[in-house]
Symmetry: C3
């Protein structure tokens, strides 16, 4: 009897690429991500009701003071550590419920009502905070080194709406294939953006055709560097000699630029999505896009046999897996040591190399790509879209 080959016995302990995946403060990717602005809520999330937020492995409290300014503070009150989630929002800040210390949106301590004279030394206190800016219906925070704070960039596809178009924002992780919060590392999702070959398999023969029919065809794919990130061009030849050219982008650091896989009409990309790493093992996606009627963004959300992801039974999840199942199915953080990348995974390999390159730039003291210091130049032009070449 021949001896079995290739069994699982003696398989080495698996490992993952920590520098690529971990997002906490002080980790390589955590520090790279902290050089950019990240969406941490819808503009409407900042109200007089304090709201818990988690981003880049940090817990924060979001609110909007009576003058309309959004505030994002470390949740533990600088006095005795009680959560400001229980605070009361006032005209000029948020007041801790325990002893009434009042903080403005930049963490200045304005009042200490139990102290003589309202706290002679209250100006020495600073509640840890992060700057917030509002754009496209979203709130963006900068959680990095203050002296490196860049300009919040704008994106041409959102700055130049067409006739009858207006902007809409969404926080339900359109594009995740699942619920708003996805329990795996964000890179597993971001790599998927540069992996168009999975479309005809996962979304074609497995769960569908889940999208329109031309997406189920195996494309011819190329990838290249755009100066702002990666671009993938997918060519599918249609009947009558026409050519369907789909362009997808992954822009530094977390921007997914993916035209609708439903290809309602040809043209430049309608919406862009920021992948927010909540922590090492969960992420969510904020999307902003041009629409012609309210709620249009939500129609991009995947369905499986007519059902939303959260309506599926456990058996249906197994029978019609989508992006959620394959990415969460890779584990909380996938084990890169067990992978075998091939030619069709070139986009994944390029994405990792792109991040490695930026980590090296940072290590050498430089600024990573996509960090803008000149407001006049902070407009990102995108090329993604579904195009029909006649």
């Amino acid at each position: 009897m021949a001896i079995d080959q290739g069994t699982a016995y003696g398989k080495p302990a698996p490992t993952y690429l920590a520098a690529l995946t971990l997002v906490g403060a002080g980790t390589p990717m955590g520090e790279l991500l902290r050089r950019y602005w990240h969406p941490i809520g819808l503009a409407s999330d900042a109200t007089a009701t304090p709201r818990k937020v988690r981003a880049l492995d940090e817990d924060l409290v979001l609110f909007r003071d009576g003058t309309g300014r959004p505030g994002l503070l470390h949740p533990r009150c600088a006095h005795r550590g009680t959560s400001l989630y229980y605070g009361k929002v006032e005209e000029h800040g948020i007041r801790c419920c325990y002893h009434g210390w009042l903080y403005d949106v930049a963490g200045h301590c304005l009042e200490q009502p139990c102290e003589p004279n309202g706290g002679d030394k209250r100006f020495n206190i600073r509640q840890p905070w992060y700057p917030v800016e509002e754009r496209y219906g979203l709130l963006f925070a900068y959680m990095g080194p203050p002296e490196k704070k860049p300009v919040l960039p704008a994106y041409d596809v959102l700055e130049e709406p067409g006739a009858g178009e207006f902007l809409e924002a969404d926080d339900s992780s359109i594009g995740s294939g699942g619920p708003a919060i996805v329990p795996c590392n964000w890179v597993q999702h971001f790599e998927n953006v540069m992996d168009p070959y999975h479309v005809p398999i996962l979304h074609g023969s497995f769960s569908g055709p889940q999208f329109v029919e031309q997406m189920a065809q195996m494309p011819s794919v190329s990838w290249d560097w755009t100066g702002r990130g990666l671009r993938s061009v997918q060519i599918r030849n249609l009947e009558g000699g026409r050519r369907f050219r789909r362009v997808t982008e992954a822009v530094l650091p977390t921007l997914r630029v993916v035209p609708s896989p439903r290809v309602g009409q040809y043209g430049r990309v309608e919406s862009i999505g920021w992948v927010l790493p909540i922590d090492d093992t969960s992420y969510r996606i904020y999307v902003a896009g041009r629409v012609t009627e309210p709620g249009q963004l939500g129609k991009m959300r995947s369905k499986y046999g007519g059902k939303y992801w959260w309506e599926l039974t456990e058996d249906e999840h197994r029978e019609t897996p989508g992006d959620y199942e394959v990415q969460v199915g890779q584990g909380a953080i996938t084990f890169h040591s067990e992978e075998h990348l091939r030619t069709s995974d070139k986009g994944v390999a390029l994405l990792r190399r792109m991040f490695e390159g930026q980590l090296e730039v940072m290590k050498a003291g430089g600024d990573p790509i996509g960090v803008f210091t000149d407001p006049a130049k902070a407009l990102v032009r995108l090329e993604a879209g579904n195009f029909l070449d006649e």
Copy 2:
């Protein structure tokens, strides 16, 4: 553009005072606490039905044998480790369900029915146990070094009931502001006892006035050492030149002596409460007090807009936070490294220094304060109360 100051970026990793907070055997505070008696149940908790008990990070089984003696044993049977929770209580002890070993309340092994002659060597076996005493409707255990076992102290306010008064005991953590078991370190609660300034803020403007109106007024506060612990005196001037003088005590090691914040009547404190550290991250409170009708103690329990804590929605917890929310909101164990104590926190600082002092006494081989060896002297006189100075 000015560079942002005081952001959360680069905030050091937070730390807590382990020597103050941890309660397990072998830790500094764990050993200090083990030099005193602690309540581990109501007298009525010890019955013929074994009951699981957790105290000072130890799991135990409580029962009462057929002769009326309460027993508190290590739960793992000395034979094969099965839990005595499944044991049967008999006239002279508890019998393990697995092989029938019978233990008395002091852990002596009385029978080994599967052994020849009922176990010739059974007298070599001792199920680990703790001594238990009954007082004020409560069961107290001594979990410390046997040679240091002190006399169980008595308290004047419970020893000398007034006309028409009788004693009542309660195990529902009256004073926690929440449920019977509170998921944070016990010191966060005990410090709150020496922190009267939070009352007009948290219980005044935030959740109320939650108590009577005079409590919502900002008091003038002093603190001092009583020889048995700390005392806080809170003065509030009332209409007509009268003075409301409220005296609160924190007695070593865990006794909270807090007059009713509802101030039903003026006079000495009605009830006292022992904070039991269940483990490092949870505690409960046992209370004993003088009442004139059954169930009167329970009426001291906090309400929020007419509702009990467990009746509140998540939104109502946020809108009307109480002691539970502020203490649990500090985290499982608060991070002392992030605190900024001020003059109004003098009671908190004194409390910590009091424990540090006792830890030093123990380290030097001495007995901490409040450990009584002479039964004739083991009566603690208290001064707490709500007083009206005309």
Copy 3:
């Protein structure tokens, strides 16, 4: 006042025998167990629907290809790590849902549809797998070093059915006293098999008589080594000078050979059970036996006051504890450092020594007992049964 003796104060930190209990790859017992075949499912568990399996601390995916061959693969696809649980089973294997790599039951990669020419280098890929064999209605896997793969043994009591008898298999952990998956280390169960003294206590006076009346009588017990494992003989004298002789076996490595405690009829053992360590802190039991009508095996399952284990209230579990309660009550992994074995525990001591002996054999480079290399000799003859000596 005398100083208390034997209190729980200062009890040393408990420890367990890691070499006896841990089952992961690379641990002593884990490697010993990996020298044998283990049941990982019913034959009917392998179908065109992928099924999650966990055995010896490893996660695997079970399926049956279109030609009828069962496959047991490492769940993470060798390509990008997505779980093959979401795969589609085909004529010749299972296809990953992400990029369509197709694996046969021995892990060969047959197709890579996104690669040029279906993957020129696909033959370099091997999905980690384990060999599976089918017998007695069960699937057995060999998870050890390939060059040591033994012959799957047969057992006389299953090979030689009597008149009117046929074989039945069960995966519901008959004999565990509880549900199919039991949350404690498997050795706690296996030791119980060599511990007949607990029967009259636990199953006699505590929960019963749970079995027939003669089982409630304290037996006279002997243990000895059989060359294949341990045998326990339990003698009970019946009325009329007859003698009830019950023989139980624990066969290397995990086989429990326990005649029905209901003693429906005297004779050789009807069924045998393989204890499968799922991981360090849970196990399940697969049983195969001779029956005369379908569903007969399930009737051996314990009842408590007429109820199945899962029908009991928490109070009823405490009042009528069974094997589940005593074994899970010992903890996830019992602390051997706190045990006190006595003469009636000889079977437990022998069992541990048996495993220690086999660990030493392995350490010295030898093959443990019960590993068969010659198919002609791989028949195990058993002696267990309920016998009536007139």
